[in-house]
């Protein structure tokens, strides 16, 4: 008895010390919680140490511009993933919307009316976005009307949209999209190379999209319904959430985002190729997952998706800058994605381990409390 009592005193002292450390959030847990952000910082530090060219304002702006269209895709993808779905068609929509813009800027051959139309740039932009939204609506329709699994439905539209882009362009590229002052359709290059207030238009667009989608997701009724649909679809439906309409809307938004990304890329290159955007959907999914979203639905944030897009973008550009071979770039990108998911899992495990540690400590405290009574 006495021996146990003596033995227990130092134990409870260390236990208390540990409780002070773990009482609030442990450092490890905090880092895990903010893992996407930590990863981004780590990347920046590593690349900055490896090359002086990395941390220059010009390079940062250039990289952010590259990040922009991935981020825009990721924002649309985020909403889809929160509802428990997936959108594989976004890469093809990027290609299609660029081609649609290309056709119209080069002269829209309306053989039916025996004329060639040269619509104003804003008309081109609206129509190209609408095409993106339309493919999204097709996704939503297949998923909600025919109960096709999102993976399959969007896999199908991925091929369809890509095929459409190839058909329209006959497989070739539309060059020189800067327009002609005489036809009144100049200004398309503003999206890709314009710099209002010294910052590229693409970054402005990313910021605007991010704010709008953040407000949608966190402040509106639609946002709650989004998370509810992903968390427990049946419960949401029985509560009166119009689950089908929620799904329809997220796929349309995702299509619009992809359409926007397609326009930005076409404008930047002042040409549109039907192959543009291949495998972009995977980058978008990776960004969303790195940002802490769950593919099972119900979880994910705008902040996370943005950081995820930055991680993916900075990683590719940084690796190029330090001269890593493009084969290794692919391997490293894969490792980062897998690591992100592993960390996601260990966060859960750490939480449990901490709970157990705390409980064990309170048993010891309790035994220590009881013993004096027993010996007295």
């Amino acid at each position: 008895m006495t021996a146990t009592k003596n033995g227990s005193a130092p134990v409870s002292a260390t236990a208390q010390a540990r409780s002070r450390l773990l009482g609030n959030r442990g450092v490890g847990e905090f880092l895990l919680d903010q893992r996407a952000f930590v990863a981004l910082i780590v990347l920046v530090i590593i690349f900055a140490l490896m090359t002086d060219a990395f941390l220059t304002p010009t390079n940062l702006i250039t990289m952010t511009k590259h990040v922009a269209y991935n981020a825009i895709l990721a924002l649309g993808m985020l909403l889809v993933i929160i509802t428990g779905g997936i959108d594989l068609s976004v890469g093809s929509i990027v290609g299609l919307s660029g081609i649609v813009a290309g056709v119209m800027l080069q002269g829209w051959d309306l053989s039916l009316f025996d004329t060639t139309a040269y619509p104003a740039v804003w008309v081109v932009v609206v129509i190209s976005l609408a095409v993106g939204g339309l493919v999204g609506a097709l996704n939503g329709w297949l998923i909600t009307r025919f109960n096709v699994a999102p993976f399959i439905a969007t896999l199908g539209t991925m091929y369809i949209a890509r095929g459409a882009a190839l058909l329209i362009s006959n497989g070739s590229t539309f060059p020189r999209l800067q327009g002609d002052p005489e036809l009144g359709n100049t200004g398309f290059s503003f999206l890709g190379v314009g710099r209002p207030l010294g910052i590229p238009t693409a970054i402005w667009i990313m910021v605007i999209f991010a704010i709008v989608i953040w407000v949608l997701a966190t402040r509106t009724r639609f946002g709650r319904h989004l998370y509810a649909t992903g968390g427990n679809e049946r419960a949401a439906q029985l509560s009166g959430v119009l689950v089908k309409s929620v799904k329809m809307r997220v796929y349309i938004i995702s299509g619009l985002c992809a359409g926007m990304a397609g326009l930005i890329i076409a404008s930047e290159l002042t040409s549109a190729a039907p192959q543009t955007g291949q495998s972009f959907e995977l980058n978008a999914i990776a960004a969303v997952v790195i940002g802490g979203a769950s593919l099972a639905g119900g979880r994910g944030t705008v902040k996370g998706a943005l950081i995820g897009a930055f991680v993916i973008g900075f990683l590719s550009d940084g690796l190029v800058l330090v001269g890593v071979s493009s084969f290794w770039q692919t391997v490293i990108k894969g490792l980062v994605i897998v690591l992100a998911v592993i960390l996601d899992q260990s966060q859960e495990r750490l939480k449990k381990a901490r709970a157990a540690a705390q409980a064990a400590q309170s048993v010891k405290r309790e035994l220590a409390d009881r013993q004096p009574v027993a010996t007295a």
Partner: protein
């Protein structure tokens, strides 16, 4: 709270007049006739108890009234006007709300987001989260369950989730409120509170339909009793004119006296020996749910563990089965310590748990009835490395008959079964593993009186073959009649060991109540405020 709900009727003057009526309603699911021509009336300011066996069609009828399902034929009238609800939202807009038998919460949303889901307080296009939290807190207050409204629903224990469902129904401000087994996961004290709330509602003219397999609750609360059997109404009476015996006879067609088989086993040697088991509360780290529990379970013995909500029963049982980590202590089965083993090897050793929450833990929703039953015992059906369909079907059919599952076929999807029948499937699944020690957590949740008797007869039969049974319940009747020894738990400890033959209802409840200090019902976990909002 709601913008479009009809105002609560100033009903006291018109008490007793028919508010809502189902006329000649039928409902068929494929070949299954869930309802075969039902006339049902709901009266203003009164509580109507709808009683019937598992699969009688109670939930189906209520889902039709609440717009979740549409009748195959027949009419629903509200205030004499025919209505055709196509969705629950339409029903709520007409003042008809329902608490479903199965929980319907989004685990990733907070309590207040769940309560106001699809009826958000919107101001200038944005959700007014602060107003929702305040209102949610008020409803929880009314149910005397002061939970933090920002807690995630997924972090709540079952009973608390059920209270959130009730709070949501209250917030809908309905004039017809349907409650389909609202108390199946509630403690005695919580039921009392709910009854006070219901009486308050009826006094303000709200009409209630109350479904429960706890017949004493129906007797205490209801003004009218309606008995449903096989999709037909077989009896109706003012509650004042009838008693328990009448109800049971109408329901199952046999006398109440036969319900519980008398227990008398002579225990053999010790089978399961539990020593100083300590378990952490899975919901709130740092709090202990089980603090040093020791007991022996003998071959041929049935032990009932009784206690109030939060006493640590579920946590103890889940720890025995390997679902919660045992922090210290030993669990010996045949002299082998299982405390560090995983669930599969405990099942292998002969210890299996029938979990409390069948939806989440007991059933695989995408599998058929038969596949669900066979899933834990697949090893038994292996013939030269392959699963023998014939052996599996034979075993499933036999066990299915034993637990009396009512199903169109064993290939039917599990979701097509009534709640009580799903519970029987979970029990059948455990029996199929031929356990030496069968651990059941609230085995009769959602099960009708007749089936309850069957289940306890099964339990008794298990014990007679030299196996041992440990079950937890919050129903006094069950521990008094269905076990050999009662362990009473409070605050994570065993506070008394009683002999059911020499104990009565009042004694038992007194022991459990007085030992339970006011426990902190608010289990704030540190992750609880982790909503989807971003900083």
């Amino acid at each position: 709270m709601t913008t479009d709900a009809a105002p609560v009727a100033d009903g006291v003057a018109h008490r007793g007049e028919v508010v809502m009526r189902a006329e000649a309603v039928t409902k068929a699911y494929g070949g299954t006739h869930a309802l075969r021509g039902v006339d049902f009336e709901i009266r203003r300011g009164e509580v109507t108890a709808l009683i019937g066996e598992n699969g009688a069609g109670k939930s189906t009828l209520m889902k039709i009234l609440a717009g979740v399902e549409q009748p195959s034929t027949g009419v629903i009238t509200l205030d004499g006007v025919p209505v055709d609800f196509r969705s629950p939202t339409q029903a709520v807009a007409h003042g008809v709300a329902i608490i479903h038998q199965e929980l319907n919460l989004c685990p990733n949303l907070s309590i207040s987001d769940n309560i106001f889901l699809a009826r958000e307080e919107v101001r200038g296009g944005f959700v007014d989260f602060a107003a929702q939290r305040t209102a949610a807190a008020a409803f929880l207050e009314r149910l005397e369950e002061p939970l933090d409204p920002t807690t995630l629903a997924g972090d709540l224990r079952l009973g608390q989730q059920q209270l959130v469902e009730i709070a949501r129904a209250l917030s809908e401000d309905a004039r017809v409120l349907i409650m389909d087994e609202p108390t199946s996961a509630l403690s005695h004290a919580e039921v009392e509170v709910l009854f006070r709330v219901i009486r308050d509602l009826t006094s303000r003219g709200v009409s209630i339909v109350y479904i429960s397999h706890h017949l004493d609750e129906c007797l205490e609360l209801a003004d009218n009793a309606v008995v449903l059997r096989d999709g037909r109404i077989v009896a109706e009476a003012p509650m004042a004119d009838v008693d328990l015996g009448w109800i049971v006879t109408q329901m199952v067609g046999r006398e109440e006296g036969d319900l519980y088989a008398p227990m008398a086993h002579d225990p053999g040697e010790v089978l399961l020996s539990v020593r100083d088991v300590v378990v952490a509360d899975p919901d709130s780290p740092g709090r202990l749910a089980v603090r040093g529990v020791s007991f022996d379970l003998h071959a041929g013995e049935v032990i009932g563990v009784y206690g109030l909500m939060g006493a640590g029963r579920t946590e103890l049982l889940e720890a025995l089965a390997g679902r919660n980590r045992i922090l210290s202590g030993t669990v010996e089965l045949d002299g082998v310590d299982l405390a560090r083993r995983d669930v599969a090897s405990r099942i292998e050793q002969g210890l299996i748990l029938v979990p409390e929450d069948r939806q989440r833990d007991g059933l695989v929703q995408t599998l058929s009835v038969g596949a669900n039953m066979a899933v834990s015992a697949v090893n038994q059906f292996l013939r030269r490395g392959f699963v023998s369909r014939r052996a599996e079907t034979a075993a499933v059919t036999e066990t299915g008959a034993k637990v009396r599952v009512k199903t169109a076929s064993f290939d039917a999807p599990i979701g097509s079964l009534s709640g009580g029948n799903q519970q029987k499937v979970v029990i059948g699944k455990a029996l199929l593993t031929s356990p030496r020690v069968l651990v059941l957590d609230e085995p009769t949740r959602g099960i009708d009186v007749g089936a309850k008797a069957d289940i306890f007869a099964l339990v008794a039969a298990q014990a007679r073959t030299g196996r041992a049974v440990l079950f937890a319940t919050s129903e006094v009747g069950e521990v008094l009649y269905a076990c050999d020894r009662i362990l009473v738990m409070a605050r994570g400890e065993i506070v008394a060991e009683l002999d059911p033959r020499t104990t009565d209802r009042e004694q038992l409840m007194a022991v459990a109540d007085t030992s339970a200090t006011p426990v902190d019902t608010t289990s704030f976990s540190p992750t609880g405020s982790d909503t989807n909002d971003e900083a």
